[in-house]
Symmetry: C2
Subunit: 344 residues, 2 copies
C-alpha cells in the first residue's frame, strides 16, 4: 500500500459564491439526511482540510485491535469545529449573511466561527467570558473575530449574546445545537468511511453532542452495521446519564481536564444520539491523561484532552475491541503547551 | 489536489531473505552512488514507513516561503536513524549477520539498530553510558537490544565496544560514519523529491552528518540545481567550522538542547558534505526552542529539538527563502515529555 503525499489544501480566503444560497434547502430545520450531509461536504470542501487517517502499531498492540485515527487535530483552527461552523456560515442566505454571525464560546467554536465568517467576508461577533485566557482571545482576534467580553456566567453570556444579536441582526450559530453545524460535523465520518473499509465501530468523544450526532447520522446512513460508541469523562457524564434515562440531564460546571466536553447535550443533538448511538461509556481523568500522553509519545502528534477520551476508554477496557477495526475521531489539538497535565 | 489515506505500513517482523546478500555489492567501501541509494530504498522498503510530507500555511506565512516538511518523526523508532540502521543490517552477508551487530549510542541509533537487528533475527549489542536515562535503556530493551553499560566517557564507550566486538564477532555499525548508513539516510530525500516538485532547496540538521551527507548525495544525483543547506546549533558548530576551514574540527562535549546534534563529523561524512552541501548555518538555542514550540503548536506534531533546527534558521533569517519552495527534513520526534524546554 503506497501512500502518501499529504499536503494540506490551503484554501484561499474569498467570499462565498451565490451557490451557497441555492444549496440552502431545508437543512436548518430538520435532522440532516444523507443528502444534506453530502451537500455540506461539497459546500465546505474548498475550505477545510481533508485530514489524514493514521494508524500506529504500538497502540494497536496495547488494545489488541486495529485503530484508525481520523486526525481532526490537523483540521483548520485545530479542531473538527471548523467543519460545522463553515457549513453554517456558508448555508446562510446572502441577506442573512450580510448581517454577520454571532456566538458565545471560549473554545474551538469561537475560532472556527471567526475563520468561517472571514472566508465568507462577513463579521463574526464572539461573546467570550472576561476570564478567558489571553491566548484564546488572541486566537479569535487573529481570525478577525469581533470579541465582546462578558461576565463568566451562563446568564451573562446569553444576555450579552442576545444584545449583540438584537443590535446587529447577526445570525446566532450555536456551537452544536444546530442542524447545519451537526451536518458539518457529520462530514468527518463521511471521509473516514470513504477511506477505511470494514470498520466494526466508530468512536467519538461527546460534549454537547455535535460531533457525535453528526457522526452517528453519517454512519447510520452509510454503514448501519457499524457501531457508534461515544466516550465521555466520568466527571462530566451528562450524556451517559441522559442516554440511560432517556431525557436530557444537564451537568452543572463539571470538573474535567477535557475542556471541550464540559457542555451538556442539546435538544437537537440528544434525539439523534438516543436513536443512532449504540453506547456511551465514561472514563476517568487519569485515563484521559494517560491516553493523551500515549498518543503524543507513540504517534508523535499533539491532541487535546478531549480528543484522547475515546482511546482512554480502550485503555480502561470499557469496550471489547479485541480483533476489531475501530475508527476513532481525534477531535482536536488545541492545547496550552505551558500546562501539560502530566507536568506539575 | 485530493489526498489522503495516510496509513502506516506496519511491516511484519521476519528474518531477511537471501536477497540481502546478493544485493550487497560494493556499497560499504565507497561513497554511495545513486544506484546504491536506490538499492537501499528497495532493501528497506518493507520495513520502514514512507513518511508523509506536511505543509502548514501559518509557518509559510511566518517566513514567506513554501515549506514541505518530511516527517521522519513518524518513522519507526521515531527518527530517520531507522533507515540507515536497517540498510546496514540488511546489507550484511548471512555469514556476517549471524554474529550480530554492535554499536555505542544512547540516542536514536541505539533503538534503530536494535529494531533492525530484530527484523533480521540477529543480536544487537548496544553499548550505552551508565548515566543514560531509564527511558532510553528501556526503549532499547523493548526492541530486543542487548545492553552493555559503560562509563560515560568516549574512551570507555570505545573500549567496551571493542571488547564486545572481539568477544562476539559482531559487525560494528557506526551511527553515521558508515556508507551503508549514509545510503540508508539518503532514501529520505529520495522520497521527498519524488513527492514534491520544483523545490529550490532542501534543509537538514547536521550532527555527525549521516542524514546530511545522504541527503546531499541524493539531491545532487537527482536534482543538482536544488541547494542543500544544513543547520546546526551555534553551541555545537563543528560542522560549520569544519566546512569553512576545509578540515574536520571536532567539538568536545558541546552544550545544546539539540541532543542529536552533539556529535562531530566523521571522515566518511565530511568529504561528501564539503563537496555537495551548499551552505551550513548556525542557530541559537532560543531559536531552536521557539522553532520546536511553533511546530508543535501550529502543525500539531511532536518533534525533537534537533528536528527543529532547520526551521529555527528560517526564524532567525539565516537564509533568504522568500518566495522559495523549501523541503525540510524533520529528523525525529523522540522527546522526554516530562521535560519540555519551554517549561521550567
Amino acid at each position: 500500500m503506497r501512500s502518501i503525499l499529504f499536503l494540506y489544501i490551503e484554501a484561499g480566503i474569498s467570499p462565498a459564491s451565490g451557490n451557497c444560497k441555492r444549496m440552502n434547502h431545508n437543512n436548518s430545520n430538520s435532522i440532516p439526511d444523507l443528502e444534506t450531509i453530502r451537500q455540506a461536504a461539497l459546500r465546505i470542501k474548498p475550505f477545510v482540510h481533508r485530514t489524514p487517517v493514521l494508524t500506529c502499531l504500538s497502540l494497536n498492540q496495547m488494545v489488541h485491535a486495529e485503530l484508525f485515527f481520523k486526525c481532526e487535530n490537523f483540521q483548520k483552527v485545530g479542531a473538527f469545529k471548523f467543519r460545522g461552523a463553515t457549513n453554517a456560515v456558508l448555508s446562510l442566505s446572502d441577506e442573512e449573511a450580510k448581517r454577520g454571525v454571532a456566538t458565545h464560546s471560549s473554545g474551538n467554536h469561537a475560532q472556527a466561527l471567526a475563520l468561517a465568517a472571514r472566508i465568507r467576508g462577513i463579521k463574526a461577533h464572539i461573546v467570550m467570558p472576561k476570564n478567558s485566557s489571553a491566548v484564546k482571545i488572541k486566537a479569535v482576534e487573529g481570525y478577525g473575530g469581533n470579541i465582546i467580553l462578558c461576565e463568566p456566567t451562563l446568564e451573562s453570556r446569553e444576555e450579552t449574546l442576545a444584545q449583540v444579536v438584537k443590535k446587529t441582526g447577526a445570525a446566532f450559530i450555536h456551537p452544536y445545537n444546530d442542524y447545519r453545524v451537526i451536518a458539518g460535523q457529520g462530514t468527518c465520518a463521511l471521509e473516514l468511511l470513504e477511506e477505511v473499509e470494514n470498520l466494526d465501530m466508530v468512536m467519538a468523544p461527546v460534549g454537547g453532542g455535535g460531533l457525535l450526532s453528526g457522526t452517528a447520522l453519517t454512519v447510520n446512513y452509510l454503514m448501519p452495521l457499524i457501531k457508534v460508541i461515544a466516550a465521555e469523562p466520568e466527571t462530566a457524564d451528562d450524556a451517559y446519564r441522559s442516554f440511560r434515562e432517556g431525557k436530557i440531564i444537564p451537568v452543572i460546571n463539571p470538573q474535567t481536564i477535557a475542556d471541550g466536553l464540559r457542555t451538556s447535550l442539546g435538544d437537537k443533538t440528544f434525539p439523534i444520539i438516543i436513536k443512532y448511538v449504540d453506547r456511551i461509556v465514561t472514563v476517568s481523568e487519569d485515563a484521559i491523561v494517560s491516553s493523551m500522553r500515549i498518543i503524543w509519545e507513540r504517534m508523535k502528534i499533539v491532541v487535546e484532552p478531549s480528543a484522547a477520551v475515546p482511546f482512554a476508554a480502550l485503555l480502561e477496557n470499557k469496550i471489547d475491541v479485541k480483533g476489531k477495526r475501530v475508527g476513532i475521531i481525534l477531535s482536536g489539538g488545541n492545547v496550552d503547551l505551558d500546562k501539560l497535565p502530566w507536568i506539575d
